[in-house]
């Protein structure tokens, strides 16, 4: 992977939700960077703050959520210091986003052609006719057969996979520098997921855009990403390139997660999986110290009192843990 200049630098991002029952620190001091043309996988279970982080970058967090601290440096400028109007111009043109539910993410009352064209017309100086031509081109690019006919169809006339292709076409309409994919294949069937992943890889190679690839599925990250950030309870717990994370996981959470997922490489069947005990803590009542300590087999008194910092333990490999896993993890994945 080429070491190119930084495209996005998220520093100490904090997005909190101020609800009636208390404050939920959905994103609690996340930092990560994406270089030009890089695919960063952001993985974690539900409630780890990965989706909120992506919405924070787009500044689409809805009340009672609020970005309370941090910097989001995109191409050298802090997005959090931009006016809403400047931010709006970046959304959809320089940073585009696709969502998990292709069924509900498209407006049911407008044709897909209309919805893609709209994005083009708002950001580019094109006539209606040129925009329409570009839309059909885009539909063809994302592998939708008969794009001229599809142009005039409504979302409910398309299958889930087709709709996600439409979402991707929409995101690609202005050649973004960064694509945020928030669980974009989760709702799809395996064979359709494979199609969409191939499409995304293909587009990434062709255009050289960077992708922030958010998912709960570790296997997808192994396939798609150059670097990986593992999130737990609003914080990054481990960060490194894809080989470091999958071959030498150092955080007990990453380690446990990789061991507990049944995979096609597991030879023995019917033996108990090495499961992580317990469950993700209640967002209103985070445990003191390291948030993972109640589930961690290596937890000590220190872990129950202090929150470890994200520290570099080898070049480019960062871990938030007092007692990183030492063993090489070969037979696991």
């Amino acid at each position: 992977m080429e070491r190119e200049e930084t495209l996005l630098d998220v520093r100490n991002l904090k997005t909190y939700f101020f609800t009636d029952d208390g404050v939920v620190k959905a994103v609690d001091g996340m930092s990560f960077t994406i270089r030009k043309g890089e695919v960063l996988g952001l993985v974690g279970e539900s409630g780890c703050g990965k989706s909120v982080a992506s919405l924070s970058i787009m500044q689409l967090v809805e009340p009672p959520g609020k970005i309370v601290e941090g910097e989001i440096i995109f191409k050298g400028e802090d997005l959090l210091k931009k006016t809403p109007e400047q931010m709006r111009k970046i959304r959809g043109s320089e940073i585009a986003m696709i969502f998990q539910e292709p069924m509900t993410s498209l407006n049911p009352v407008y044709t897909i052609g209309n919805q893609i064209m709209e994005a083009i017309l708002i950001h580019q100086d094109l006539s209606e006719e040129e925009a329409k031509k570009r839309t059909i081109e885009l539909l063809r690019l994302v592998g939708i057969p008969e794009p001229e006919r599809r142009f005039n169809q409504y979302p409910h006339e398309l299958s889930g996979g087709m709709r996600q292709r439409v979402m991707i076409a929409m995101a690609m309409s202005c050649n973004p520098d960064l694509l945020i994919s928030d669980e974009a294949t989760t709702a799809l069937d395996v064979t359709i997921q494979a199609q969409i992943l191939e499409l995304m890889k293909d587009l990434q190679r062709k255009t050289g855009m960077a992708i922030l690839f958010i998912t709960h599925d570790l296997a997808l990250v192994a396939e798609m990403a150059h670097s990986v950030a593992v999130a737990y309870t609003g914080k990054i717990v481990e960060y490194g390139d894809v080989y470091q994370i999958f071959k030498k996981p150092r955080h007990p959470y990453t380690y446990g997660l990789l061991s507990s997922v049944p995979s096609l490489k597991t030879e023995k069947t019917k033996t108990p999986l090495p499961a992580i005990e317990g469950m993700v803590p209640n967002p209103y009542k985070m445990p003191s110290g390291c948030h993972f300590n109640p589930r961690c087999p290596f937890a000590t008194e220190r872990c129950r009192k202090e929150m470890p910092e994200l520290a570099e333990i080898e070049p480019g490999h960062l871990v938030r843990c007092f007692h990183p896993v030492a063993v090489e993890k070969e037979a696991v994945s």
Binding site: D20, E277, G278, M279, P281, N282, K285, P287, P294, R295
Partner: protein, 297 residues
Amino acid sequence: MAVEATKIEEVLTGRVETYWYLVGKRLRKHRLAMLSLVVLILIILACIVGPYISPYKVSELGSTTEVLQPPSWKHPLGTDELGRDVLTRLFYGGRISLLVGFSSVVSALLVGIIVGAYAGYFGGFLDTILMRFTDIMFSIPVMPLLIVLSSVIPGAGVWKIVLVIAIFGWMTDARIVRGMFLSLRENEYVEAARAIGVSNNRIIWRHILPNSFAPIIVSATLGVGGNIIYEAALSYLGFGVMPPTPSWGNMLQNAQYAMAIAPWLVWSPGLAMFITVLAFNYLGDGLRDAMDPKLYR
């Protein structure tokens, strides 16, 4: 195999959070609904106790000097064209109006729940027939029909009015209940019950109905208010509760012609009715928020 740890401590220390406990907790945060609840309790108490405290009898005619007296210390809300104390009649009228409101809602609910539950649960032909019938009933404007019904059904008692209002009040409940049943019967806990071998009737009454309470209770709360107005309108038009039994509606029956000389006759029953109905509406709204299923997943 360890029990999942985190929630255990709070579960052990906290009280058992039943659904109603949670609803109550949320409802208490809804200030207007709580205020409405207090107002309603006061009104109901006043209507029950009022007549016993009042020095006047409900149909006691005053002497000629007491006819159409404006409010005074002796008659806080004045007297009507027959010299009767308006406040006393207001208490009695409230009893009748609230009685009609509550009983007609309860009767309509019974019919609506049965029709809706069976139509929604079994679906198919039964559902088609019942819902066609409901559609037909819905296509007849209520007020004219109420008028026609109350003049063709013999008798003049309060219960006739309850019956008449209930006959045309069940359709909304039936539709709500059917809608709930249609969606709830797709839930896996219903399938689970069937897999166990639970009978249809037990599934309907024990599994699905308790989960459809929220919209039923909201509809019933709003319905009491609505039916008080129906009764009043019918009485005002001369088809409702017949004098000398007072109701808030028939107290207004003659008020229109006296409004130039005795406006107090217009104000008090109308205001009593308005405040009651407003309170029911706010309470219903508060309950709707408090029982929102999205909050209890």
